[in-house]
Amino acid sequence: MNVLTTYAAQSLAAVRTSFADRTNFALQVAGMAVNNGFWLVLWFLFFAGFRQVGGWRLGDVARMLGIIYTLFGLSTVFFGGYRDMAGAILRGEVDPLLTQPKPVLLRLLARESVPSAWGDLGTGVAILIFGARLDLGGAGLVIAAIAIGMTAWISTSVIFASLAFWFAGARSLSRDLMDFTLMVSTYPASIYSGWAKIVAFTVLPAGFVAMAPVGLVRNPSWPAAAFAIAGAAGYGALALMVFHLGLRRYRRGATPGS
């Protein structure tokens, strides 16, 4: 089996495990869908009263949320191990993977699938189908934006989780950093300027998770596409580098808890 087949087999096993308790699965999916629906209603109420914010209207925000929910849902269903990767590193769960021939990072990413993420995925796809008014070209751009955003989001999460190779308190820190990034991602890009914008494209790269991909859908252009792809690729490369640096440290036994 090659690397991708191993990943697919493990990921599907994780998805099947998440289905095991059907009541719990259904409740989590429904809870997340209601949660996302509420968020959309809040935006609906906001735009009913304020009409626009920095040139963004309800349709723009709906499209943005559709893209974010979908990319977050796909990431967390099929690469759900990133959510508690820092915990897995600190608990020494990397040890058995080191003795196996397949890449450690993919094995860690594929080890878990979070049931509630199906709620995100369902809501995201529903918003894109019914609320985003996409033509064929627009749909292609949205798929590209989701792929770019997913790459940036998973890469960012891997970078945050890899802090566990160096710091014992990285579990809650990485969760917090992921939450910060998600929070910054779920507001219209037009509100950020100055330092907030710099933070959004560097430390908490919501800029590459959401703003640049969504910007590509709003105003398609080759420079916008190049910027979004380069950002996601850059964070992907950085994630691989940081993870493997950390893994080298882990092999030496220098990681806290290893």
């Binding site: 308790d21 009541t23 719990n24 409740l27 989590q28 429904a30 809870g31 997340m32 209601v34 949660n35 509420f38 968020w39 209603v41 809040l42 109420l45 906001f46 009263g49 304020f50 009409r51 626009q52 914010v53 920095g54 509630s116 308190g169 809650s172 820190l173 917090d176 939450d179 910060f180 929070m183 910054v184 507001y187 219209p188 037009s190 509100i191 950020y192 300027s193 907030a196 933070v199 908490l204």
Partner: protein, 275 residues
Amino acid sequence: MRSTPPWITRTGFTLAAMAAAYRVGLAAALAAWPVLLGRAIFYGVCLMVLIAFWDKVGAQRLAGTLAVRLPPGGLGVYVGVTEWITLSVPAIQLRLEDDIRSGALEPHLLRPKPYLTQTIAGEAGGMSARLAMLAVAGLLLLTISGRPWPAGFGLAYVTVLGVIGATIGVLLYTLVGLTAFWLRRVLPALLIMQKLMFLLGGLFAPISFYPGWLHDIAAASPFAAHLAFAGQAVIAPSWAAFAGALGAQALWFCALCLAIALIWRAGLAKLMREG
């Protein structure tokens, strides 16, 4: 000589035990100061995003929209107050979920001190540390930002309504945690509760901006007692509004305590019956 009725003695013991649990919770939260610091940074990030958002809305002041009704200094301080309360409330629902699901609850039931009141008191201790830390961070950010401070007794009203509002938040999350008697994971209940806080609590926008019917529903809900009243106190501070808010908070505090007691008894009965 008349002896003290047993229920008074029992209540006294329970309150003393709760006070001890509160002190332990407070000390534990202070000992974990890096976590408190992290929360303060999170508070700063939240404010950065939300204030940037409302400043953008306020800067446009589109005619015929609610933007013209925004206060002159914007909603920065309002957002600061509602986030202060929200981020101070501890995740008591996770502890209840863990204890109920793992069976860690059962040994507590054999002990003389009531598990639930002890847990709530301990979490309230942690909440006090957060309230203090985030209040300092908030006031520091307000000073640095150069935005106007709440007028008159606004700050005093906010302090009182905010602390009681946070306590009501603990009770609301306790209700979420108690759903673990029936649900495997409390996440769905939590998500719904959080979004009700956003909508009816005015975490997203002041409830005074809502259409009349929605405003009335929000104002009559426990979520307004949790968040909105304290936030409104910085927008339009007045003694009458403060007194009314205090009355509503007292009412919701009692109602939620009663609801918690009833659900706890029902949950325990289920646990005894079905394990």
